[in-house]
């Protein structure tokens, strides 16, 4: 058995705050901060024995006051989660601790002037609940620490190199002591970028001298692994009568869970990124509450603030009698627009996604009674970061592409397709694999919609090195200059046509005589990231008797840059949309007055099922990213940004009820309908 006392405590060793938080989150020390916070771990020879042993542990708990929402946590005399938490980025610094970990702020222009220039100003406050990533496969890890101290860890994660780094840090081990093999991953959506079980399994295996397996039950996944933040967001927007947005004032508080680290920073950067607004102010707070520490969830932080901003945009359009897409087009960020978060946008495709939706037959299709249509747009940065790939030409002329990015949605197929394109051979001759931490160079997590861009770039560059090598070998064979050899359609050709072409298989078979095995590695920190935009269109029907919302039709247009594997691109778009629909209509963490999670299972935490949904129609917009050899942007995340508002805007159109609190569950909407009918 192990407890917090068995782990090094970075709080006592002058560790960085984030390291202290992560260490304390995976195993409580003196203070248990949320239901599900681990206090001990037990290994036994059978599952039953381990469960009985864990149940036999007696913990002396002293009940403490707690806070569950940002309002409670930010109240004057709120109970404090951490006695040492001083709000960062406030000038002058506060003299005492609070539950506010940090403040973020952006501003431009003159807010008063901007609102004075507006003909219509609307301000509303929105709330969203914590929602879980909801991957179907729970967390699991197997650790085997040998007598030499060398450890082998198998786990399902979005980045086994990162898991190695994090687990080693918590244990105060050198990362190289641990070899991590990536298991096939059963969904992550951001939630499997951080450690939970891995250091526990490693330490238990060290103690036991045996391999140890730890698996979360579904209730533990909900209680102990990261959801994303519940939020409170106030948005005030001003528009001129001609439809130009003049000013925006955004205030946000994001629940971090028990330790700092909500995605409020990304929220602050994304919230206004779709538009060119001359005067704005954005302020956000990272607030600790007695709930599980949040983890990344698909475009972390962006969907909630987009829900708020895009809802008010919708009201402004109606208020000045302008088509909501026209209003968005009028203010849309384009190449050269100074993004609200700082840099000038490179070539981007927001306008193209808006036009795709405007010109889609869905936009003009007739609606029936109690039905309504909503539109919303969204932005996500996308990421580059570190990737490595190794490419081998096997002796039969087929190829192996070795990457270290766990495949969460078909990236091995995309890697194979890009290698095939480079090499001019059929993709069936290429096998792409995800290798362990000792077999391929370092890779950052599969996250930030970065793998097709960054790991893809490493694959492309490695293939180009191989082509150069193959041309040199052909030149050697033909006794000519390398310049006289081209690589065309999977074979080396002499520019004068004086030699019979040498295929990949020919060159592979002779490799021993031309310089040895044919292999190349490329590692990079990818630049040239292409931002992503999506515009979505949703039709709903509202049942005025029950408040139930039916999604009738949904169309999503997203700028993919270039779609490497178009049907997987569509799959990313559709998956993001449906997670957003669940967030809008059903999903929420429900905590009781005792601070316990009341719905830690898929029966009561209701993610969308097949019968809830129509087909999700996709328009893959391709505005190539000029900074990537194939024009790739990354497609994984932005699809979840617009649907919350698209659904809410459709509900407003169908029912006349502007819903500002998510989820828009039947009781909540029915209540709004009843208040509407009573004229309140």
């Amino acid at each position: 058995m192990i407890t917090g006392a068995d782990f090094p405590d970075p709080a006592e060793d002058g560790g960085r705050p984030d390291d202290v938080f992560q260490s304390h989150n995976i195993m409580a020390r003196d203070k248990v901060l949320y239901e599900g916070h681990v206090v001990a771990a037990v290994a036994a020879t059978t599952r039953k024995q381990a469960q009985e042993a864990a149940a036999a542990i007696e913990v002396d708990y002293e009940p403490l006051d707690f806070v569950l929402t940002v309002d409670e946590a930010m109240a004057e005399d709120a109970p404090l989660l951490h006695d040492t938490l001083i709000t960062r980025n406030i000038d002058p610094p506060p003299d005492g601790p609070s539950n506010v970990a940090s403040r973020i702020a952006h501003e431009r222009g003159d807010l008063d002037q901007g609102f004075a220039e507006a003909d219509l100003v609307i301000e509303r406050t929105f709330t969203t609940k914590p929602v879980h990533q909801g991957y179907i496969e729970p967390h699991a890890a197997v650790a085997d620490v040998g007598e030499s101290g060398r450890a082998h860890l198998w786990c399902s994660s979005q980045g086994h190199f990162s898991i190695r780094t994090q687990a080693a840090k918590v244990l105060a081990w050198e990362p190289s002591r641990i070899k991590v093999t990536a298991a096939e991953i059963g969904g992550g959506f951001g939630g499997k970028t951080v450690i939970y079980l891995e250091p526990l399994a490693l330490l238990l295996s060290t103690r036991a001298g045996r391999p140890v397996r730890l698996v979360m039950g579904r209730d533990e996944v909900f209680r102990a692994s990261g959801p994303t933040s519940g939020t409170s967001i106030r948005v005030k927007l001003g528009v001129a009568a001609d439809g130009t947005l003049r000013a925006a004032d955004v205030w946000m508080a994001y629940e971090a869970g028990a330790y700092p680290g909500s995605p409020v920073g990304a929220a602050g950067m994304t919230g206004l990124a779709c538009y060119d607004i001359p005067h704005f102010q954005v302020e956000g707070f990272d607030v600790v509450v007695n709930k599980p520490k949040v983890a990344a969830y698909r475009a972390p932080g962006a969907p909630m603030v987009a829900f708020a901003v895009e809802s008010v945009i919708d009201e402004l359009a109606a208020g000045i009698g302008m088509d909501p897409i026209e209003l968005r087009l009028k203010n849309a960020a384009v190449e050269g627009t100074q993004a609200s978060y700082g840099p000038k946008f490179p070539r981007i495709g927001l306008v193209e996604t808006l036009e795709a939706i405007r010109d889609h037959d869905h936009y003009q299709a007739p609606l029936g009674p109690n039905q309504g249509r909503g539109v919303a747009s969204g932005f996500w940065f996308n990421a580059g970061m570190n990737s490595s790939a190794t490419v081998h030409v096997n002796e039969d002329g087929n190829m192996t592409v070795v990457v270290g990015s766990p495949d969460i949605g078909g990236s091995r197929a995309s890697m194979g397709l890009m290698a095939a394109e480079e090499m001019g051979i059929d993709v069936g001759r290429i096998q792409a694999i995800v290798a362990d931490t000792e077999t391929v160079g370092f890779n950052d997590v599969t996250g930030g919609s970065r793998v097709t861009l960054a790991t893809g770039l490493a694959v492309v560059e490695a293939c180009r090195a191989i082509k150069d090598d193959l041309r040199a070998r052909a030149a050697k064979t033909w006794d000519c200059a390398v310049d006289e050899v081209e690589w065309v359609d999977g074979q080396a050709q002499h520019t004068a046509g004086s030699e019979a072409p040498l295929s990949l298989a020919d060159l592979a078979a002779k490799s021993g005589r031309t310089g040895g095995p044919i292999s190349a590695t490329h590692s990079l920190n990818a630049r040239g990231v292409g931002p992503a935009f999506s515009t979505q269109l949703c039709d709903v029907e509202v049942d005025p008797e029950t408040g139930e919302v039916t999604i009738l039709r949904f169309t999503t247009a997203q700028d993919a840059g270039t779609a490497i594997h178009p049907s997987y691109v569509e799959g990313q778009m559709q998956g993001g949309v449906v997670q957003g629909i669940g967030w809008a209509l059903n999903e929420e963490y429900i905590h009781g007055d005792d601070g316990r999670l009341e719905n830690p299972g898929f029966l009561d935490y209701r993610i969308p099922v097949a019968s809830d949904l129509p087909m999700i129609d996709t328009v893959v917009v391709e505005v190539p990213n000029p900074a990537h050899p194939y024009g790739v942007r990354g497609v994984g995340e932005v699809g979840i940004v617009p649907p919350l508002a698209a659904v809410a805007n459709a509900i407003a159109a169908a029912s006349g009820c502007r819903m500002v609190d998510l989820p828009i569950s039947p009781p909540r909407l029915l209540d709004a309908i009843n208040r509407r009918d009573e004229g309140r």
């Binding site: 179907i136 096939e184 991953i185 998956g575 997670q579 898929f602 029966l603 019968s611 087909m615």
Partner: protein, 169 residues
């Protein structure tokens, strides 16, 4: 604890295995029989990732004690392909990109097979309701539903061809 002896027809073969008396069928299939196509997503019958056919009915194997299947017929995803050929559902899922992470896929395939066995020409709505007990968090279901409809069509065409061949030998 004494292990319990169970005999069952699994994927067309008579199989005998030993399991703990209180083992779920899910765990026995994975740990004692070696059929890891069944996945545990919840352990409470809410997600469908462990779906099997138990005497032709779609069943969550996490909700059945392994000794209960003594004498019964069990089909798991491993029983769908035959003679080196994928089941049309599997082929259509592959071609239709109906999976991303794949952890729900075995359950979907089994539940879809049960549907098509009793209704070879389902509507989209019928497919959606037949698969409503299987959760997928990656795909938004679109490509799954399309792939099941495609497989149904392929199987009907295959059946019609077989009938025609039978009529005109």
């Amino acid at each position: 604890m004494a292990r319990t002896h169970v005999s069952a027809n699994i994927n067309g073969e008579e199989v005998e295995f030993l399991c703990d008396q209180d083992a779920s069928l899910l765990n026995a299939l994975r740990d004692d029989v070696g059929l890891t196509g069944v996945k545990e997503g919840c352990g409470t019958g809410d997600c469908g990732a462990c779906s099997i056919l138990l005497d032709d009915r779609v069943t969550c194997s996490c909700l059945v004690f392994a000794p209960e299947v003594d004498g019964a017929t069990v089909v798991t995803v491993e029983g769908l392909a035959s003679g080196g050929h994928l089941h049309p559902l599997q082929q259509c899922f592959l071609e239709g990109a109906a999976l991303q992470c794949g952890v729900c896929t075995p359950g979907f395939l089994v539940a879809a097979k049960a549907l098509l066995d009793r209704n070879p020409d389902p509507t989209e709505t019928e497919v959606r309701y037949a698969l409503a007990g299987n959760l997928c968090r990656c795909t938004g279901y679109d490509k799954i539903i399309r792939s099941v409809l495609d497989a149904a069509e392929a199987m009907r065409a295959g059946a019609a061809e077989a009938t025609e061949e039978g009529a005109h030998p």
